[in-house]
Amino acid sequence: MQHPVLTIARFSLLEAIRGKIIWIITALLILSVMLAFFISQTALTETRETQVALMAGVLRLSSVMVMIFFVISSIARDFQDKSVELLFSISIPRYQVFIGKFAGFSLLALSAVVIFSFGLFFYSDPVSVLIWSFSLWCELTLVALISLIFILSLEHVAMSLIASIGTYVLMRFMPAIQGMGDGPFQDSVFNQFMNKVLDLIDLLLPRLDHFTQSSWLAKGAASEIDVVYFLLEFVLFVCLFVLVGVIDLKRKAI
C-alpha cells in the first residue's frame, strides 16, 4: 500500500494535470518566447541577452502567480466539496496531509520548471539553464508552501491571495523596503520602531531577491556563492514553514 503522503501528493498533481494547468504553463512558455522575440527585435545589440532576460523575467513572475492562484483555488475547492473534512476524519495524521499536499504542489512546480527549461535551452548554456531552473523550482516551492499555509489558515480565497502576493512582494523587495527606512527621518522614534519591525520580518522570510536571476541566463553569471545562498535559504525556510503549517493545522478545529 502506498504511503498516505505519496497518495495525497499524487492526487494533488493529478488534479493539476486534469485541471489543464500543464497547458497553461506551456502557453506561458510560448507567450514568453513570442513576447521576448517581439521586444528583442528592437534591440540593436546583445539580442540574445535581451531575449533571454525578458523571457526569464516573464516566466518567473507569471509562474509564481499561476502557482499562488492554483494552490489557493485547489485548497478552496477542497474546503467547498468537504474533501478537507474527509481527509481529517480518516486515520491519517494531519502533518501527513499537509506534507502530501505540499509535495504535490512541489511536483507541479517541478513540471513547470522542466517545461520552461526546454524552451530556455535554446537561448542559454545548459549549466546556466539548470541553475536558473533549479532556483525557480525552489522559489515556486516556497511560494506554494506559503500559499498553502495562508489558505489552510484563513479559509478565504481573496484574503489568502492578498496575503500570499503581499508576502511574495516582501520576500522580493525586503532590502529595498529596509533601505527606505534609512532616509532623512531615520532618527525619529517611529522610524526606528519600523526599522526594527522590518528587520524582524526579514528574519522570518526568505530573501527571494537572491533567487532566479535573469542575469544567470543572460551572462552565465551565477556563482557558487549564489547557488549555496539560495539553496541554504530554501532548505531552512522550507523546514520553518512546514513546521508552522503543521502546527497551525494541528490546532485547527474542523
Binding site: 528592437t42 540593436l44 525578458l54 526569464a56 523575467g57 518567473r60 523587495f173 529595498a176 535573469s214
Partner: protein
C-alpha cells in the same frame, strides 16, 4: 422560442452597436495629435534600490528598450533635437551602472544619440562617453575612439578630438591597440602641427617602447611622409 431568439438577437445587435461605438471612439482619439512626451528624469535612488532588489537584468533590458524607443511616439519619429539630452545622459549613466559589463548603453550613446543635428546635445553625449571611459577605460576605450572621430568630423572640434585622443594615448599599452593610440598623431596632423607629430613619432621610435613591427613600419612611413612634405 421565437421571443427568446429575438431577445438573443437583440443582445447580439446591441453588442455590435457598442463595439462600433468603441471603434469610432478609438478612431477619434487616434486622430487627435498626442502630446509629445520628453524623456523624464531618471530613477530615484529608492526606485533603483527596488530594481536592484528585484530581477535587475530583466528590468535593465526593459529600460533599455523603453529608452531606445523614445524617439518613436504614436507612430511618429521624433527628432533627437527635441529630446532632453540632460535626462537622456542621466538615464544612460543609470543603465551603465546597472550592468557594467554590457555595451548596450554605450552603443546607444555613440552610434545613435550622437547623430543629433545639434552641437550642444552632441557635446553632452560626447562628454558622457568621455566620463564613462574614465570610469572603465578597459571596456569603454572603443567608444571613446569613436567619439574622437565624431568630435573631429561631425562636431569639427579638433581640440576636443585631440583631448580625447590624448586621453586614449595615455592608457596602458596592453589595454588598447596601437591604431587607437595613433589617433592623436592624425589629429595633430589635421591641425597642421607637423613638428609636434614628428617629435612624438621620433620619440616613440627612439625609446623603443613599441615592439610591434607593423606599428614601427607605420610610424616610419608617417615620419618619412612628414619629412617629405616639410622639404
Amino acid at each position: 422560442m421565437l421571443r427568446k431568439l429575438s431577445s438573443q438577437n437583440f443582445l447580439i445587435v446591441l453588442s455590435i452597436v457598442v463595439w462600433v461605438c468603441i471603434v469610432i471612439w478609438r478612431g477619434s482619439t487616434h486622430a487627435q495629435q498626442r502630446q509629445f512626451e520628453n524623456i523624464p528624469e531618471p530613477l530615484s535612488a529608492t526606485t533603483q534600490s527596488f530594481i536592484q532588489a528585484s530581477d535587475q537584468e530583466f528590468v535593465y533590458r526593459l529600460l533599455l528598450i523603453w529608452l531606445q524607443q523614445f524617439d518613436v511616439q504614436s507612430g511618429h519619429y521624433i527628432s533627437y533635437r527635441e529630446l532632453n539630452y540632460e535626462n537622456l545622459t542621466a538615464w544612460l549613466t543609470v543603465l551603465e551602472q546597472m550592468s557594467p559589463q554590457s555595451h548596450y548603453p554605450m552603443l546607444l550613446a555613440t552610434r545613435i544619440y550622437t547623430k543629433v543635428a545639434d552641437q550642444q546635445r552632441l557635446r553632452l553625449m560626447l562628454e558622457f562617453i568621455y566620463q564613462q571611459y574614465q570610469i572603465n577605460p578597459e571596456k569603454n576605450w572603443r567608444w571613446l575612439a569613436e567619439a574622437t572621430v565624431q568630435a573631429r568630423h561631425q562636431l569639427q572640434d579638433l581640440q576636443l578630438a585631440l583631448s580625447f585622443a590624448e586621453t586614449l594615448a595615455k592608457a596602458p599599452e596592453e589595454e588598447i591597440p596601437y591604431w587607437v593610440r595613433d589617433m592623436r598623431l592624425t589629429i595633430l596632423e589635421d591641425m597642421g602641427e607637423f613638428e609636434q607629430v614628428k617629435l612624438l613619432v621620433g620619440g616613440l621610435l627612439a625609446n623603443k617602447a613599441i615592439s610591434d613591427p607593423n606599428e614601427i613600419r607605420f610610424l616610419n612611413i608617417l615620419l618619412e611622409r612628414l619629412q617629405k612634405n616639410n622639404n
